[in-house]
């Protein structure tokens, strides 16, 4: 196998093979061979291989996937479940839908292998409600996989195995919060999507109180490649501590927005200038949000040398999140951007925890009054204080996701906020 470097990287999640979404084309290109290989070894061996690969979750938290799987109890009489998280509602993130559309069988194959590894007999692929078109595409692919005996009752015939798993698509109905894993489980149970208090963790007490693992769509789609080519092969791709391919969605003021599959560790500036065609009108960059709207924004002068992996982005003062890179040129109104982002979290807060429910609304009111020309300079400290009092004080990470952009946008673009207030408000003073 050729060593994959940045320059000769061949995409494996979205390889651009025509009609790959059709099962016969997928099979012709080696599809479902990893599943055969996986079923010939033990679940423990698969978990070890995935641990060796260094695969980390692609849904935002970068948690080691093999380690997560190993939390599933081996000695239990309860049914076990796998949830595949395709809620994809983070502003700036539009990668999972590419897998649903262009490589659905890779996701299905990964789902079956993962189910075998953790001992699940039922897996749910949770897809956001607005993606109805992609729900239909996944359902079609699933029907074909059932028909060919890669999923469900016919597996023993096709694969000569006792193991079988059923996979169902669960369609959401419009709630960002359902991308949070415990809220997603409540949603599958047919409840309001309120996050649950942790512990207990899903591996102990998940769907219907049973052991459950939740992985992102992109994470699961890496699994067949790891089984086919080995964990050591996968570990050589990209950044040392955060290896593998990464689906990077680039949006905003670039010439060629879209999803680019590149090895982790690619330079953020290469993503923007080499792949996404640079900034429209050759303008300067004012701000880049590297991982979806929840992640701290970087100033244009902070992105040099920064790489798209968990460690490099943390050092730079942000995080990889869902790798949704949002690029803003020098003419962007940061007060407006932050107001819009804050409105999102206010709308999407489930309302369960006071700091998040009240804090997001309060922050939005303050930002709106700044936009109306009624801002005060001390409002900026007030906003940071509100953010600080949301973060860490809620059941789930939505509170943190709301707090980070507020705090970091104001801290990193403070000059612009102050100038905005001084220019527009009679109340500026102080």
């Amino acid at each position: 196998m050729m060593v994959q470097t940045m320059d000769n990287y061949q995409p494996i999640l979205l390889p651009g093979i025509p009609d790959l979404h059709k099962i016969n084309v997928y099979e012709k290109h080696g599809g479902y061979q990893a599943l055969r290989k996986a079923l010939a070894i033990t679940p423990e061996d698969i978990i070890e291989e995935v641990k060796r690969s260094g695969l980390r979750g692609r849904g935002g938290a970068c948690f080691p996937t093999g380690l997560k799987w190993s939390f599933m109890p081996r000695d239990t009489d309860k049914p076990k479940y796998l949830c595949v998280n395709g809620d994809e509602s983070e502003p700036g993130s539009f990668k999972d839908r590419q897998i649903f559309e262009f490589n659905p069988h890779l996701l299905i194959e990964g789902t079956v292998i993962t189910s075998y590894a953790i001992g699940a007999r039922v897996a749910y692929i949770y897809i956001r409600g607005e993606y109805e078109h992609w729900v239909r595409l996944m359902e079609k692919a699933l029907a074909d996989a059932y028909e060919s005996g890669y999923v469900g009752e016919k597996m023993s015939g096709t694969l000569g195995t006792d193991f079988k798993v059923d996979i169902y698509v669960h369609r959401g109905a419009g709630a960002y919060i359902c991308g949070e894993e415990s809220s997603l489980m409540n949603s599958i149970e047919g409840k309001r999507g309120y996050p649950r208090v942790k512990p207990p963790f899903p591996a102990q007490n998940g769907l219907w109180g049973c052991p459950t693992t939740i992985n992102n769509v992109e994470t699961i789609s890496n699994v067949p490649h790891i089984i086919r080519n080995g964990g050591d092969w996968y570990n050589q791709i990209g950044a040392e501590k955060h290896p593998g391919p990464l689906l990077i969605g680039v949006s905003g003021h670039v010439n060629k927005p879209g999803v680019y599959e590149l090895p982790t560790g690619v330079l953020l500036t290469d993503v923007i200038y080499k792949y996404a065609g640079g900034v429209r009108g050759d303008k300067k960059i004012k701000c880049v949000i590297p991982g979806g709207s929840s992640m701290p924004p970087l100033r244009g002068d902070q992105i040099e040398g920064v790489r798209m992996d968990a460690e490099s982005l943390r050092e730079a003062g942000s995080a990889v999140g869902t790798a949704g890179v949002i690029v803003m040129d020098e003419d962007t109104d940061m007060v407006r951007v932050l107001t819009r982002i804050t409105k999102f979290y206010k709308v999407e807060s489930c309302g369960q925890c006071t700091p998040c429910r009240e804090g997001t609304g309060w922050a939005l009111k303050v930002l709106e009054r700044i936009r109306r020309g009624e801002g005060r300079i001390e409002d900026l400290d007030l906003l940071v204080s509100i953010a600080n009092n949301i973060e860490g004080n809620t059941v789930c990470a939505l509170g943190d996701a709301a707090a980070w952009p507020i705090r970091h946008t104001i801290t990193r673009f403070r000059d612009e906020f102050e100038e905005y207030i001084r220019k527009t408000s009679k109340l500026a003073a102080a």
């Binding site: 409600g129 059923d166 109905a173 803003m328």
Partner: protein, 156 residues
């Protein structure tokens, strides 16, 4: 109410889960696809079908953005104004639609044909600005394209 075929669909959905309650979201989608919105009578019907409390169905309908508990226009134009679309001028999209139809976001035309709403990110950031028309995504919008879309809807 549901036809025999729809009842079979409900049974199929029900078989995916160990509890009846878990089937409620899909059954509500089915109901709304048929009637356009979910009235309280609709919630009672779904509750009876699944043998779960109606309060529970009401809780789900009111939590999730996509369920409507009142009628909306025949064509629902949902314009994303979140950050990636904002950066690519979703203002013009809203303006074009409002001017053409004479309604502001959140309103329905008097003849009940169009409802326009401003919505959160729909996952089309690479093809911004965008809106969805009922279930279909319309991407890389320009004023010309928007007017063509509205013309086509009016002609349909």
């Amino acid at each position: 109410m549901f036809t025999e075929e729809e009842h079979r669909k409900v049974q199929e959905i029900r078989s995916h889960y160990p509890t009846a309650q878990a089937a409620v979201m899909s059954v509500l989608h089915l109901y709304q696809d048929k009637y356009g919105y979910i009235s309280f009578e609709g919630m009672q019907y779904v509750a009876e079908l699944l043998e779960i409390p109606v309060e529970h169905v009401l809780g789900v309908v009111t939590f999730y953005e996509m369920y409507h508990d009142h009628p909306i226009g025949k064509f629902h134009l949902q314009v994303c104004t979140n950050v990636s679309c904002l950066l690519r001028d979703s203002d013009t999209v809203l303006e074009t639609i409002s001017k053409r139809l004479g309604i502001a976001p959140g309103e329905t035309t008097d003849d009940g044909t169009f409802t326009v709403t401003e919505v959160e990110c729909l996952g089309s950031c690479g093809t911004a600005p965008m809106m969805s028309v009922n279930k279909e995504y319309k991407e890389n919008l320009t004023p010309e394209k928007i007017n063509e879309i509205i013309d086509a809807l009016l002609a349909s």
